[in-house]
């Protein structure tokens, strides 16, 4: 019998939850793969999930040129979703992005890990606000 054949139930539940939220939300799995972002997030990011599909979370984030308000690049280790995944804790950061539509936006992102069991992190949820 091979590897897991479908997403963990917690991720499916998280996607359903996010689908019904007006708050911009993105979800990545335990391997750091972006698996979903909702319609509210599409507005902030200037692009549709249907056009993005499942991609590496770090590459996806980098495509928005995340940077500090001073213009310094925000490396992966300072990005909330990566911190939540690597360190298994919640994280918050404010930064600037350039959306797919070319518009600069200031956002605040809070990310937290999803634990199916005490020792089983199945992914992360990142919620963000336009500032």
């Amino acid at each position: 019998m091979g590897e897991r054949r479908s997403k963990h139930l917690v991720l499916i539940l998280a996607r359903e939850f996010a689908s019904n939220l007006a708050t911009p939300t993105a979800i990545a799995d335990d391997e750091g793969r972006l698996v979903f972002f909702n319609e509210a997030a599409e507005e902030v990011l200037g692009g549709r999930f249907a056009d993005t599909g499942e991609v590496d979370m770090d590459e996806w984030t980098a495509s928005f040129s995340p940077r500090t308000r001073n213009g310094d690049p925000l490396p992966p280790e300072r990005r909330p979703a990566r911190i939540a995944l690597n360190e298994r804790r919640s994280s918050h950061e404010q930064f600037r992005i350039t959306g797919r539509d070319g518009v600069e936006r200031d956002v605040a992102v809070t990310a937290f890990p999803l634990f199916a069991h005490e020792d089983e992190c199945v992914g992360v949820v990142a919620i963000f606000w336009r500032e």
């Binding site: 479908s6 499916i12 539940l13 199916a116």
Partner: protein, 284 residues
Amino acid sequence: MRVKVWGCRGSLPTPGPETVRYGGNTSCIEVGLDDGSVLVFDAGTGIVELGGELARRDVQKVHLLLTHLHLDHLEGLRFFAPMWNPEVELNIWGPPSPVSSLRERIALSFSPPLFPIDLHDVPAQVRFLDVPREPWELDGASLYADLLMHTGPTLGYRIEADGFVLAYMPDHEPALLGITGRTRDWISGAGVAEEADVLLHDAQYSVEEYEQRIGWGHSSVDDAVLFADAVGARGLVLFHHEPRHDDQTLARLEERACELRGDRYEQPLLAREGLVVPVPTPAR
């Protein structure tokens, strides 16, 4: 592999003249492997008669795999004959909990005032085991379990043995999270049931009843068929019948399932006590 249904009623045992065809005992199936191993899934009241049968066969090693600990899947365990035989090795598998062990959770039903005998005093050699997160081997079978959409932590089991794949998902409401328009990997339980030769699946309600019970953790007959089609399960056995449904009602639901399933796959069956599930010739 030989699959026999010993109980397929949902929620509550329903003995009586109105339920003689499909039976009134709650969930329990027996999976016999070609090497003689016995796997039992769930311990509803159907397990009581199975216990007598296993005693007659002098089976001394049993694996009991629980989908979850709701009473209709556990209430027969106290009257399962192998529990009371010191010669029997009984391995009880169930969903892990971050709060308490499987033994602690099951012990609640083996203690006063619910039951006069404490779990410590059960004579069989009982072991309690958390179901692994990864596929594992059990005697002659390969097993895989995954959490399903139900109320509380609930597993579905995929059993591969003797060139045959069986999926057992007695309590499952995949429609709550979406079936239509989803790729398989986003459908609850798809990894358990995908391309199974036979899928035993929750079909507690008619579609009209389901509309009044969305979120209760169970499926309509229509959604059970939709799920089976979506995951490519070849055979479908509808399971966990609503306790208020008499034989006539269930027969109508079986007809409904056959209409919905069409000609693409084998015609679905409604589970009934004593049914030996037809095992098709392996396609692989």
